[in-house]
């Protein structure tokens, strides 16, 4: 439907405001350097959008850190660059105070917590793995395996260069299914604070043909929940009676996963 395609475009264009400052222990200048402000696409990954920030800070750090990998931290937590920007934003900031304040570090890389990302190839490889996983769940991997590698490349370049049409020309194939059946399983990750994200097998239809909703998923896999807790997808508190098949087709990230953020009410 045309209006549903508009939703795809709106999701694609989502941005979050970020303000990056340099970690004081890495700063080589007498006065605190200016922070760097930028709007970052929700659907992208930090290593793809932080080149300018890195260059901005390079001249302000000591010479022995020039080759170091820059890593980001939000309120004391190292940011997992391999999660989409929007997911990290919803989990760590949630729009409580804007812009989202981040600190850029060039030393003491937390190797227990963060995957190394010295080149863009690491991001590409991670992105392709996620696509294969998602298609494994949706179509037993049949669609992604049968694609030519130039199609894989087009997905990646579409994401890197913010080209909606280029990306969706191929991605629509990964979103194909018969209206009666839907995907085999819905690729999702349920993110909660302080634990590894949950992944499970969930079908879009029950045995008696009823459409499975977000409410069903939360009931099954969210162990504790109380008033005031928020469940956020793409920065939106989605109605819980929305069918998972529809959510998977329209609110997934480019990695084809539905990233669901559970944000408990702070006591």
């Amino acid at each position: 439907m045309a209006e549903d395609r508009e939703i795809l475009r709106e999701v694609w264009d989502g941005r979050v405001p970020v303000c990056v400052q340099l970690a004081s222990e890495d700063c080589n200048t007498l006065s605190a350097p200016d922070p760097y402000y930028l709007m970052v696409p929700r659907l992208s990954y930090f290593p793809l959008v932080m080149d300018k920030v890195r260059k901005h800070f390079l001249r302000l750090i000591s010479s022995d850190l020039q080759e170091a990998e820059m890593w980001l931290e939000s309120d004391g937590m190292p940011l997992k660059w391999h999660y989409p920007v929007g997911v990290l934003f919803d989990l760590h900031c949630g729009g409580a105070s804007l812009p989202w304040a981040l600190t850029a570090h060039f030393s003491h890389f937390p190797e227990q917590d963060l995957i190394r990302c010295p080149t863009r190839e690491v991001v590409e490889s991670h992105f392709m793995s996620s696509l294969k996983e998602a298609d494994g769940l949706k179509h037993r991997g049949q669609i992604i395996t049968n694609m030519k590698s130039k199609d894989h490349k087009q997905l990646w370049m579409g994401l890197c260069n913010d080209k909606f049409d280029q990306f969706w020309a191929i991605n629509r194939k990964l979103m194909e299914s018969t209206p009666e059946e839907g995907f085999k399983f819905i690729p999702f990750r349920l993110h909660s604070p302080s634990q590894a994200p949950i992944q499970r097998l969930i079908r879009p239809l029950t045995e008696d043909g009823r459409r499975v909703t977000l409410a069903d998923l939360l009931l099954e896999y969210l162990s504790v929940s109380q008033e005031g807790d928020r469940v956020v997808i793409q920065g939106i508190e989605v109605p819980h009676d929305t069918p998972l098949q529809w959510l998977s087709e329209h609110l997934s990230h480019p990695d084809n996963f539905l990233h669901i953020c559970y944000i408990p009410l702070q006591s």
Binding site: K80, H82, E111, Q112, D113, L114, I115, R116, E121, V122, E124, S125, H126, M128, S129, K132, E133, A134, G136, L137, G141, P187, Q195, A196, P197, I198, Q199, R200, L201
Partner: protein
């Protein structure tokens, strides 16, 4: 295509753990998994650095003693003891976890220098032994990378599971159907994915196979 369900994976692991106990091997259930539905078995191993030395004696099952025996054999001159004290070891921690998306087991691992520092991906690629280099490195970004452990949520190296089902089907055409054949499935899988990253499977595991499958298919 040879895939297994999560329940079958659990059975295969528990059977495998029994064998490990029997042979004095050190596979254990991972106890720090928050997800109550997440099963992970793991094994820690120390390998001499410089070259990823394959454990020479495959027939023995006293695996922990092997490295000591190798050292004793090499050193006849007491003056050489000093060099042995500075021999560097790489510590490997191998994890077997289930892949929901591919319905097969997956091998994750971490590796640390004796200094305690984690190996880089380049170190890991460098450490792939001669026999498997071509196979892994011809498509390194699609075979062996650093990723997030699905149950621990921390960085681990992973051998990609994309081709697992196809590979196992070539060796085990009959799908597993009982505890014994599921155990065989896991051992077969491990014998393919372990060696490229330094994990050898002693022959005693293979000697334990039933001569006939109990399945009627």
């Amino acid at each position: 295509m040879s895939t297994i369900s999560y329940e079958e994976f659990k059975t295969a692991c528990l059977e495998f753990l029994e064998l490990s106990k029997k042979f004095g091997d050190s596979w254990k259930l991972r106890s720090d998994i928050q997800d109550k539905d997440g099963l992970c078995i793991h094994k820690v191993q120390h390998i001499k650095s410089k070259s990823l030395k394959e454990l020479k004696n495959k027939t023995t099952c006293k695996i922990d003693r092997q490295l000591e025996e190798e050292e004793e054999e090499e050193s006849s001159d007491p003056a050489e003891m000093e060099t042995h004290n500075t021999t560097h070891f790489t510590t490997y921690d191998y994890h077997i976890v289930y892949s929901l998306s591919h319905s097969v087991p997956v091998l994750y691992f971490n590796a640390w220098h004796s200094s305690g520092q984690l190996l880089t991906l380049d170190d890991v690629w460098e450490g792939v032994d001669v026999t498997h280099r071509e196979q892994i490195l011809s498509n390194k970004w699609g075979s062996l990378t650093q990723t997030e452990h699905p149950l621990l949520g921390r960085p681990y190296f992973q051998l990609h599971p994309c081709n697992t089902a196809k590979l196992i089907a070539q060796v085990l055409p009959q799908p597993p159907c009982d505890a014994a054949t599921l155990r065989t499935y896991l051992i077969c899988w491990l014998s393919m994915f372990g060696p490229p990253v330094g994990l050898e499977i002693p022959l005693c595991y293979f000697a334990e196979q039933n001569t006939e499958s109990g399945c009627v298919k």
